[in-house]
Symmetry: C5
Subunit: 358 residues, 5 copies
């Protein structure tokens, strides 16, 4: 994950200040100048997949007895999004939310259908990328908006093509569930990667606590905050979806929504566990550092306390008093002096041993 700014979530919002409500502006980093549109239309018997042009008549895409999934990659071509909104009768404020990539995950129920916006996370080669996915789910259609190309929906497309599972037989609501489920399933992969980093950092913290690993811990904290901001409202949104009495969600789909809800709960618990552990890592660092400080101080103390009295003795016999009988006693230097030195050193070391400092 590239370094997460604490400004994430409001970045680029300044562009909106002073604009009339419902004015469409892409809020967020500009990623793709273009806007790619792909369409899948299917029923139990048949499936048809196509890539479509920006100037299509979107109103003609809805078919009586087929489910239509329109996917939009890239939010910079505001005009296309505006025309899609008109064709499917989407309120301007909802289109505004589609374009505001700092939007909190949420579910909104309109007359026409449901609007769901969530964060899609992907873990590739040690990198985690985040993208806002918005879905408009109506009777017979799902429109999904992504910030850029690339998503976690390939398995859903595969099932649609092959006709495996319930998806072809069920309606647009089940498709929307499948997309949500795919997104939520990928959170587990992200968590696993994060958890492995945490475990590795803990080992390093114990063994070699330096400023680098401390910076890592601060980074983990930020990522955790980011993930919590993505997951907690997601849980709210999915809960609202399972409680919703919108006709768009059929009774037989509700049990599937409950299942995704369980998964978000499992994700939240894991995340909170991580948070408790990461919160404890600063304490581990402090105690590790203070242990090291302790052992540094002990070495200083041991060496100093041994040599300070010894130096005093040497100092005494370096004095120039006339009347110092020891100086003229022949065995005093080779025997008496070195014995004194030995006795002090051994005595001190014994004292340290007794105090359990060695």
């Amino acid at each position: 994950m590239k370094r997460i700014s604490i400004l994430n979530g409001i970045v680029g919002y300044k562009k909106k200040v002073g604009l009339a409500p419902g004015t469409l502006v892409h809020v967020g980093e500009e990623e793709a100048r273009t806007c790619e549109l792909s369409l899948i239309q299917y029923d139990a018997d048949d499936v048809h997949e196509s890539s479509i042009e920006a100037d299509t008549d979107f109103g003609a895409l809805r078919k009586e007895d087929k489910v239509c999934w329109l996917n939009v990659d890239g939010l910079d071509d505001v005009d296309v999004i505006d025309r899609i909104g008109e064709a499917f009768g989407v309120h301007d404020l909802i289109l505004e939310d589609v374009l505001n990539t700092g939007q909190r995950p949420k579910l909104e129920e309109a007359e026409e259908g449901l609007f769901i916006t969530v964060k899609m996370l992907q873990a590739n080669e040690g990198q985690i990328s985040s993208e806002q996915v918005s879905m408009i789910v109506g009777d017979g259609y799902v429109i999904s908006f992504q910030e850029r190309a690339g998503d976690v929906f390939e398995s859903v497309r595969e099932r649609l093509r092959s006709g495996r599972g319930r998806v072809r037989k069920a309606g647009a609501d089940y498709l929307a569930y499948c997309l949500l489920d795919a997104i939520v399933d990928n959170y587990f992969a992200v968590l696993e990667q994060l958890g492995e980093r945490i475990e590795a950092d803990q080992v390093q913290l114990m063994e070699e606590p330096d400023e680098e690993v401390l910076a890592e811990v601060h980074g983990l904290k930020r990522e955790m905050i980011f993930l919590r901001r993505a997951v907690w409202p997601l849980r709210e949104a999915i809960n609202a979806l399972s409680k919703s009495d919108s006709p768009v969600i059929r009774k037989e789909t509700r049990i599937y929504v409950n299942d995704v809800y369980d998964h978000t709960m499992q994700i939240i618990e894991t995340l909170e566990t991580f948070r408790d552990v990461v919160a404890g890592m600063f304490d581990m660092y402090l105690s590790s550092v203070s242990n090291r400080m302790n052992s540094v101080m002990k070495v200083l103390t041991i060496i100093a306390t041994i040599f300070i009295p010894l130096s005093f003795i040497a100092g005494v016999y370096g004095m120039n008093f006339n009347n110092m009988p020891e100086l003229t006693t022949g065995w005093m230097y080779p025997l008496g002096f070195w014995l004194m030195v030995f006795a002090v050193a051994v005595g001190m070391l014994g004292f340290f041993k007794y105090k359990k400092w060695l």
Copy 2:
């Protein structure tokens, strides 16, 4: 932002002690002796803007089929505010709240209309200024009270003049929404500025932790407390507004109120993120300081532990014993002594290397 006193919110309240309920007194810093009044009257076809005098007959301002927005800048001329209150049938207690600039943001529903009071923040050139804005919204009119001239409503006035957007076609409730929306949008700009200061302080905390940056962190904490006190009740007030069954808020405006509500949630989440980060900054400071202390101690320890034994050796050969054969051995000083010195120094340095202190 000028240094925020913790007394903010109750400052000047002492003036009120002992007064009868409903007595009008401006509570807060006195800012403007005068009170400027401006009026915009409009319908879908027409708009009329004027600045009016303090001695106007306010009762005559309401027009049957036009929306009337009366804006009051400056709260010190209590008499004007009293007469406006009478003309529009506003309860004395509500006028008291208009004048109490420490008032918590809130929504109050009266028979005549709605009363909303919020904090308006503006970010200009690294300075953030705060001002209480109160609005009385009734059938066909909005009265807004500000502490002083200058606001964030210029874009709304511009839309009123030009007739862009829905505002000219909609009623007083939509105008009130537009004003709230303009205020809330400006919180994002304030947050962005704050976030940038936090990021800068974090870097300095890591690189050069001194008492100055610590004071900065304490300052940030205070500003955060101030912002939270402005935003959390704002969210409550807007929530109450969207749930209100007052006839003043029409059904088609409600969806817009929900949109502002989303924005306050986004602001609150960003603010709580900042708070978590700022809370962690004190820990960063402590660990940064303790790391520095550590390296200071290490230098002391290394130099002391190398030279203490060396000084002892020098002390030994400075003793005046008669019988010290080393002293008379010719190669002892240039060779033996300096070899000893070299051996001790290298041994010590090796020991430190082994202990990973170097």
Copy 3:
């Protein structure tokens, strides 16, 4: 505020152990042996104020069409309180609460009327005093009990005497509101004084952190706990009052009760702000102390690390080896030695400068 004991709130309760429920005993510090009674009777046209004797027939005080406010100063004359209770039909358990000065602020609705008990705070000359005030509010009468003479009701009495404001025209419920409002308004003065002490302590903490200011901080914490215990239940009680459907509280008074409720919220927010700030003061102390420790250590390190090598050099040339050519070189002491000293000192200082310790 005299030092607040953590036992405050249960002090003297031991007297009650083993007594039958409803037995009247003054729980709290004994303050006044006597019990002073004063009476104000009024209607829109007239007001009559008198001080009355302990052996009055309290039953005769109620007048058909006048509001009667009986104030009792001092709770030690249990007999008087018992007879008042009987005259106005007050339940024994409520009289017990009047006498229990550790009682939590609360509202109780009985058939006869309302019972409200709160803490009255007064700030005089840097001292804050606290006193429990209980009120029994019925149809046409208010009875207030205080622990001792002196209160914050003088402004209410003044309004009663002069007939200013609504109070003479309204009923007993409005009088009770006025008393509560006077009490709550005085909390602002107390908070202001407390806030000023906090600000002063913060400055001292930064500039001269000693054990005295730390003791101050611990004292502030205690006072904050005491205030929170007074204010949070007060808010509950006032909220219950505004929600109460007792016939004693008339519809037109309810809006005034809501206004006091707003004030308690403002007080609570200010108090919580203080609490956050005071909680941070211990961190400020720790960091201030550790900064000082740091600079002490640095001075020791700098002086020691400069002189330790110098002393070694001096020690070397104090040795008594026969063969030390340096000693006999004429320019060695005045030039060579002092140059070495100078070089070591300058080198060390340069190193510290480079390490940013100076």
Copy 4:
């Protein structure tokens, strides 16, 4: 209070593993082999007190128009408890709870009556003892079970004997209330004793922070946890009792139950105050220790920094260079040298004074 184990609350539970639900086993420390039974039967006119045998026919104890209070001291004679249960129609699971002395305080409503279990605390001579008391309250009877002889009910018995207060005129529900009230009143005495220990420890913490007082603080924390586990569910139970619509609790008793509820709230607030204070004591210890450390370091620094330069000077003039003119200057030692020493010492002390270290 003897040292409280953290296992308290589940101690001895292992005996139950694998037993069928409703199997009666005394869980807890075995205290009394025997089981003492005492009976009080009363109505408004008459009271009869007796001690009864274990082989009594318990079914015969209930009298049509008298209230019967059967008290059981000691839970080891499971058979007696079983037969009491049968005689009064008590469910096996409730008898199990009577015997499980780690049971959380709770209220359970059965068809036959109410089951209440609480912790009874007693403070005698600096010792606090805890005991589980369970009560079964039915129409015309109260059965109380205690772990061992000795309780806080003597005042209730006294009132029953003398006929003072309401107790003889009221029913079994009022008797149960009186017992609860006696238990709750004794919590105040326990809190007072605890509060005095806390205050004493705080003083010692400030004046002489050693490991002993730290151990005291850890002990206080444990006792606080124990008390909270007793009081919070007690509050719940009494609240449930006051809300209960069981016919066993008559309308006129409800106001008394509310009064006990107030007392538990007062206890909880005091306890939470204690907890806040005890939580702060560890901080006080740390800062006290760090202050001491600080002053130790200062003494070392002052003495070292004064003598290190002095020793260097002495070292310089102990060198054996031939060409040291100072050595042969007559006034150099008695005047020049000691002046230098004096200047350095005074300079250093001045520097420390200036730095405010002295």
Copy 5:
């Protein structure tokens, strides 16, 4: 307990990413390749126990008037579980949950019956093992799934065989209760073992705080997090069970479910007590370490401050000034010098004694 990974709860989940909802895959560590099935069928009069094969016709196992308990040990043979699901009409999503061993404990109500999944803990010889147990409870049958052979149900089987207790006379719901009760009872044994470890670690922390015991504390924290994740949702699930209006749970069983609920509350309280205590252990470590550091520093300070002035004196009389009258005074060395040394040493020691450092 083998070291608990923070990834526990999501381990192996990656296998599921991209699969259609309801696809059966064993998520968790692979433990048993095989899948052992055992069956107990009983009514009040009779009991029949058998081990059955994987290729049985599971649909034939249900008997009109007998209760059937099918236990499955091992989740790797997905096919068997699939066929059981079909035979008893279990929804695919529920079978998915059975196989997902990181599933949060929960209760789910389906038309066919109830689905309960919990964690079963066992404490054997200082080791705690955890296993997910899922139960499907319908009209006349209980199916239990375990991760591997070995459980805590032996006492239930014993009661079924012998006909002791209510279990043979009651229905499938009572059997399910008995299994839950057996699981919950074993939590007490686990807690007891954990509590004993905590107490032992506390003692060591006080007496000999080293990095090993600190690692123990970090381990305890992890286990606590794990236990909390097992117990809190368990409580929710059992609460939902006792509130459930499913026809599967008969009225007379409900009181038993409430009893298990009480036990989970008791477990939670004990666990939270442990958590508070373990949270305090890091503080104990820090203060223990800082106490040790303190005493190390004191020894250094005492020895250094005594000898530094003494060495200075020795240095002075080692100077080579011509004019040092002390040097030639005969009694100066043996008397004057050693007296000075003695005076300084005694003075210093007295000073330390006075400062209470000795």
